[in-house]
Amino acid sequence: MSEITLTIVKVLFLALLWLFIASIVSVIRSDLFGKAVPNRAGQQLNEPAAPARRTRRQRGRPRRVAITNGSQSGQSADLVGETGENAVVMIGRGSDCALILDDDYVSTRHARVVLGEAGPYIEDLGSTNGTYVNGQRITAPTSLTLADTVRIGKTLIKLET
């Protein structure tokens, strides 16, 4: 290869390297701001591609325990396992809990939500500050519906379908 083609190939290759970096940086730049979606009530933000598997599920049956206030709002844990078996959702500050609350008023293993034969119920596990269902401190396992609000420490928790 002649000297001049050699130099051209060399410079072009270096230009290609920096073009790659420039395109990555431009991706990062647009990524910082995300995609803006106008927020109208009830609008779906994800594509609604509901897989056939999911539509077969019973409607109105609680499937998730979710946090509804504060900085952890939206975090949830599944009450129903992948294969359809009923799981127990442990709530607390400990790392082995399914729903880990970052809340100073919560015990390590505070309470658990179980999906039993007759529907979901919540059980306090001897916590220091107690578990409240609709404002009432519970002393025994209490059944839950979708309308009930559970308060643990400063955190509000609801069942979701």
Binding site: L14, F20, G34, A36, Q44, S71, S95, L146
Partner: protein, 472 residues
């Protein structure tokens, strides 16, 4: 994650999936690697290699498969990580191939390295498909920590460990040599992260105040002392400066991130300085490294390798000699420890800076993931992995360019060596997992009490779709 939750009527910002962008960048990065391979072959042998279609098929196929798995399992993962890794891996392979061609007959280092890349790719897919979520890893704090320590000390077992170039950091079994410290790096990063998530409250308690810095309480010094002694043991028993620096640095940095107390960082730096001074006074090889750093040109016989690397950089200059046109083979270990010198010679400082830039981008994405992460374990893990990556690149490229004394660390994704390759691919896999968890929209459904007619007003799709909504 930037979520504008302050006003109902304002627009909501959802992170984009950006999977098509990732595919484009992956193909771009793979094309750069392929171009480098072709230019090297043409410039050295004068002809386009006949195996080019095969190489192209395998080389482009592997990252595209990883991309497909990400599309399937981690649709919200960071789109930049995989292309950056492919870029570095491709340039490294081309450079190893270039050094293969110096020997006659040509050696097969690049083929071997491509095989290791394949194993790395399989491991990334395994991480994505099998682990899926990084949070359960938190349960295995002590198991992973112990496994990491055993791997670190494995080369000391007589018969299994082998000594190459004075350092005893390899093991040899079934004809393959392996550097277990690279894998231990990943395991210990996970173990440190989950340990500190548990203990950070205690570790953050302030002890005596000295020169305006809150030092930790004496009784909490146990863990840092243990890791310090361990890294000294690696220095003494395995003669390896790099591994010892990497582990201690990783631990101290994660302590600092977990507790937000500068006292730990100051203390760690002082302890490392003490360890380094001890090494300098007691070990000949540390003195050689420091000598090669401060005054290399005084003794050609002893410091020949680093001198040769400096000549390579000078010969490369601003734009380099061109791929296949330099003489990187003059530097010993040009395909492993000194691959950045080979890059600097053939691609010049322009090319070397491009490579460093891509490393910086990977680190930036790791730290960005840590910043956006909403739970402590993921935050610490991605910050730790990104920092270990940065420290490793800084130590080795800094060593080769004489910014620091040379440490025998590997250049991630580039230097020849299987253990480093697979460990770094697993790091990328873990960062992808965490970034997917961080970037996916918060999942909640419509508030039942808020909708007046109750459940019946909800459409079937609303039930199965994750909506973002203003918190109560």
């Amino acid at each position: 994650m930037s979520l504008n939750l302050s006003d109902d009527r304002a627009v909501i910002i959802v992170p984009r999936k950006r999977r098509n962008v990732e595919l484009f960048l992956v193909l771009f990065a793979a094309a750069i690697g392929l171009a480098a391979y072709t230019i090297v072959s043409y410039n050295v042998t004068g002809e386009i290699p006949t195996v080019l279609p095969w190489v192209a098929g395998i080389w482009v196929g592997m990252p595209v498969v990883v991309h497909a798995v990400i599309r399937w399992r981690l649709p919200y993962a960071d789109p930049v990580l995989l292309p950056c890794a492919v870029f570095l891996n491709g340039l490294g392979l081309a450079m190893i191939h270039r050094i293969d061609l110096i020997n006659s007959p040509p050696t097969h280092g690049a083929t071997q390295q491509l095989l290791w890349t394949g194993i790395g790719v399989v491991l990334v897919i395994a991480v994505i498909v099998v682990i899926r979520d990084h949070r359960p890893l938190q349960r295995f704090t002590y198991t992973l920590g112990l496994a990491g320590l055993v791997l670190l000390l494995l080369p000391l077992i007589p018969g299994l460990g082998v000594e190459i170039g004075g350092a005893r950091i390899w093991i040899r079994a079934f004809g393959l040599s392996f550097q277990p410290a690279e894998v231990a790096k990943v395991l210990l990063a996970i173990a440190f992260a989950s340990y500190m998530v548990e203990k950070r409250d205690v570790l953050a308690l302030a002890g005596p105040r000295f020169l305006g810095i809150d030092l930790p309480r004496a009784r909490d010094l146990g863990p840092i002392l243990c890791v310090w002694l361990l890294s000294l043991a690696i220095l003494v028993l395995q003669n390896d400066l790099g591994t010892s620096l990497l582990f201690f640095g990783l631990f101290v940095m994660m302590l600092y991130v977990a507790t937000e107390r500068p006292g730990w960082a100051v203390l760690g730096t002082l302890m490392f300085a003490a360890g380094a001074a001890f090494g300098y006074l007691n070990f000949g090889h540390v003195r050689v490294r420091v000598g090669a750093w401060l005054h290399p040109f005084t003794n050609y016989d002893e410091y020949g390798q680093i001198i040769s690397a400096q000549f390579g950089f000078a010969w490369g200059g601003l734009l380099g000699r061109g791929l296949g046109e330099g003489r990187p083979g003059l530097t010993p270990l040009a395909r492993s420890d000194f691959i950045s010198a080979a890059i600097g010679e053939e691609l010049g400082i322009t090319g070397l800076f491009a490579v460093i830039m891509v490393y910086a981008l990977i680190v930036e994405r790791g730290l960005r993931t840590a910043l956006a992460c909403r739970e402590a374990f993921g935050k610490l893990l991605s910050a730790g992995l990104a920092f270990a990556f940065a420290l490793q690149v800084f130590a080795i490229i800094g060593g080769v360019t004489r910014l620091l004394p040379l440490t025998g660390l590997t250049t991630p994704f580039m230097s020849q060596g299987g253990s480093s390759m697979i460990a770094n691919w697993v790091v990328i896999g873990l960062l992808l997992l965490i970034s997917h968890q961080v970037r996916k929209p918060i999942a909640t459904t419509v508030d039942l009490e808020a909708s007046p007619a109750g459940r019946d007003t909800r459409s079937a799709s609303a039930e199965t779709t994750e909506l973002i909504r203003r918190p109560a």
